[in-house]
Amino acid sequence: MKRDLLKVVNLTKSFGGVRAVDEVSFEVAEGEFLGLIGPNGSGKTTTVNLITGYVKSDKGKVFFKGKDITGKAPYAIANIGIARSFQMVRPLYQLPAFKNIVVALRSPRVMKEIRGGKYGELDDIAIDLLEDVGFERDSFVPYKLASALPHGYLKRMELARCMALRPDLYILDELFSGMSMSEVAATMFIIEKMKQGGKTVIMIEHRLRELFRVADRVLVLNFGRKIAEGTPKEISESNEVKKAYIGVEVELA
């Protein structure tokens, strides 16, 4: 059995009266691809924010590689090796796309690995990464200001920023939302490659068809509670999930 990379115990968070995340516990094993689904407002993003330190938990603990990382600052958690993308894209609008990636390459975690690179090399690495997620180098897209890029590109830039950190765990929050069909297909190719490469990933997604193709295990949240957990096949057949997830059944079929 592989050891757990991430372990979440009884994570709880309320906003005012709303229990956004309610006693959620789960583990992610090394090399596992975990899907996290649930209707809108079920607490998926909040769970990610709790794990990555953007929101302080009311209760519960987060362990990464056996170490307690509850309440650590977001940058510290990124440096430990958990990279996350944002559902609402958060680019540095005033910088060219590739400089957005350079910022991640300058983190202590990455600098340790690529130490000694002279000025300019970071730029090349960044542009290569952007090319990997489908930015066309010849059309100078990587050099454009982030504010001039369409939403789909910004989404993929989020992925590139995660990849730049060379993390041990990827957390991708609704990466496909707002992407065109062809972009989804192209990005799916990258995701599948990540899976083949043995990367550990938590993927939050509303496109269940794509998610179920890559996920080893799926976790379902509803009203902040974990209501089901199992293989994609089990989940798509579970009645409880269907009840919580009315409207998506069509897509499941």
Partner: protein, 343 residues
């Protein structure tokens, strides 16, 4: 305007295309176009004190030095603003530097070449430690606390009679000649200007600007934004503390006025007037504001009214800042070139 057989061509287009390569050096005119806006202001900075000396304008020599001093504070403000920290208390940096240099010289009789570096670094360190606890505050909250600090020091000195109290510390060592003082401060200004412009264009500068843009994205990139902000405060404080230490020795006395509100407001006004983010705008703004403010002294109490009016007119007329306006217009210079004859 239309001229038969000619069309207009922008000067900068061809130059921009070539300016990355050696071909730029093929035309002295193009070199001139690129260098003029850089060399001219530097030359002016160096020549103006000479002109003032020859024409015997001792008073305006002092104003010129004051403008240099304030422009250090303004550039520091601009630097802090680039990480999204809005300081309303540049007087803190100025005053702490001034008092450290003053105290070291007055009590311990340290010479100038020791007091100024110690005050610059020590002052920057003290200010950074003072502001570090509030580094998580944003926008106006950070501004309000920085605004309060100099006033707090002002009252402390008055109440405890620390460092001479209201009398200040007189009889400080002065610079041997006005030339040493003038060119020391001009040198500091130029170093600051070019160093800041350089830093902001490096990858480190990208991080600085990124923090203002979206600090969560920077944190997601694994960079400790608070540590970067502390570094920015240190740099800004060092520029301000140097200015303060210089001023103490320049006028030979340090008093409570170094913590005056003026020292906090002038730099902000200068950046707003000149245009932020370029440091050159901050300097330009100071060199307009400070002489204007001195010139208006002749009008007594009306001074502030006229001063404010000029500010409002400038800000409303050129909200982007004078420097950005000039830069844009400079890039739009064009010349007449012949149109190939059509059959």
């Amino acid at each position: 305007m239309v001229k038969e057989g000619y069309r207009k061509e922008r000067l900068d287009r061809g130059i921009k295309a070539r300016c990355d390569s050696i071909f730029m050096l093929t035309s002295y005119r193009e070199i001139l176009y690129m260098l003029l806006p850089r060399v001219l202001p530097i030359a002016a900075l160096i020549i103006i004190p000479l002109v003032l000396e020859v024409s015997g304008q001792v008073y305006w020599q002092k104003v010129f030095i004051l403008a240099c001093v304030i422009s250090l504070l303004a550039m520091g403000w601009d630097y802090l603003a680039s990480v999204g920290l809005v300081s309303l208390g540049q007087a803190l940096f100025f005053g702490v530097g001034a008092y450290i240099a003053g105290a070291l010289n007055h009590y311990l009789k340290w010479p100038i070449f020791l007091t100024i570096p110690v005050a610059t670094l020590g002052g920057a360190l003290i200010c950074t430690l003072l502001l570090a606890p509030i580094i998580r505050m944003r926008g106006i909250y950070f501004g309000m606390v920085t605004l309060a600090f100099p006033l707090f020091f002002n009252r402390i000195i008055e109440a405890t009679k620390l460092c001479g109290g209201t009398e200040g510390l007189p009889g400080l060592t002065q610079f041997p000649t006005i030339w040493v003082a003038t060119y020391l401060i001009i040198g500091a200004l130029l170093i600051c200007l070019f160093a800041f412009r350089r830093i902001i264009d490096t990858d480190y500068g990208m991080v600085l600007r990124g923090i203002r843009d979206n600090d969560r994205a920077i944190m997601a990139s694994g960079i400790n934004i608070y540590w970067v902000k502390v570094q920015a405060i240190f740099i800004c404080a060092a520029a301000g503390a140097f200015a303060g230490a210089f001023m103490s020795h320049h006028i030979g006395i340090v008093g409570m006025s170094v913590f005056a509100l003026d020292m906090s407001i002038m730099p902000v006004a200068a950046v707003v007037l000149g245009g932020g983010g370029t440091f050159a705008g901050a300097t330009l703004g100071t060199f307009i504001l400070v002489p204007l403010s001195e010139f208006l002294r002749a009008y007594g109490t009306l001074r502030i009214a006229i001063y404010s009016l000029v500010m409002v007119v400038c800000v409303v007329g050129l909200p982007e800042g004078i420097f950005h306006y000039l830069q844009r217009k400079y890039h739009q210079f064009d010349r007449w070139v012949t149109v190939e004859a059509k059959e």
